[in-house]
Amino acid sequence: MPLLSPADQDKLRAAFDEMTSPVRVLFFTQALDCDTCVQARQILDELPPLSGKITIEEVNFILDKEKAAQYGIDRVPALALVGEKSDSRIRFLGAPSGYEFISLVQAVLLVGGRGTSLTPENLARVASVDKPMTMKVFTTPT
């Protein structure tokens, strides 16, 4: 049973059609002690049927600690969005349900070729950051 209505699937399919490059979603998960990992997987499974450019790669958080560290993941469920040429360094912690799903779609489109929505001025300011910077944006599904 798909989570998305046929109408929403059509809208997403049209949006993803604009993608010019593939996006890999690394899905960090574990079988036990993770209440929302199954839910996260169900949500993610909605995406690849809507676009040949989106792939989900499951990473076992317990067994593959090295990969988790490489992508800065210290809890599950978590997502890392990887573009064709490089890691986007965009992460999601927690199941991407509700509004988070919309954020995920936006992030996939961004990485998949739509490009930044920053104004040229803000893009220049952001590009001038010369030290590592970590941003955490807290949200809720509703």
Binding site: G94, E100, L118, L123, V126, M133, F138, T139
Partner: protein, 59 residues
């Protein structure tokens, strides 16, 4: 912003799923953004203001 600069990493954190993080960063409302563990930005701001606050020099 992470997309625009390889030195920037961005996490979207589901606050209700990780109450420990929500507590640690004193999240009482969303959206709330924490930059480099120090700068706190409350609410959704227009892009110019958000970028300005996120890039402000550490106090």
């Amino acid at each position: 912003m992470a997309f625009a600069n390889p030195l920037i990493t961005a996490y979207a954190v589901e606050a209700t799923e990780f109450p420990d993080l929500a507590r640690r960063y004193h999240v009482s409302g969303v959206p709330k953004t924490v930059v480099n563990e120090t700068i706190e930005i409350l609410g959704g701001l227009p892009q110019d203001l958000f970028v300005e606050q996120a890039l402000q020099p550490p106090a």
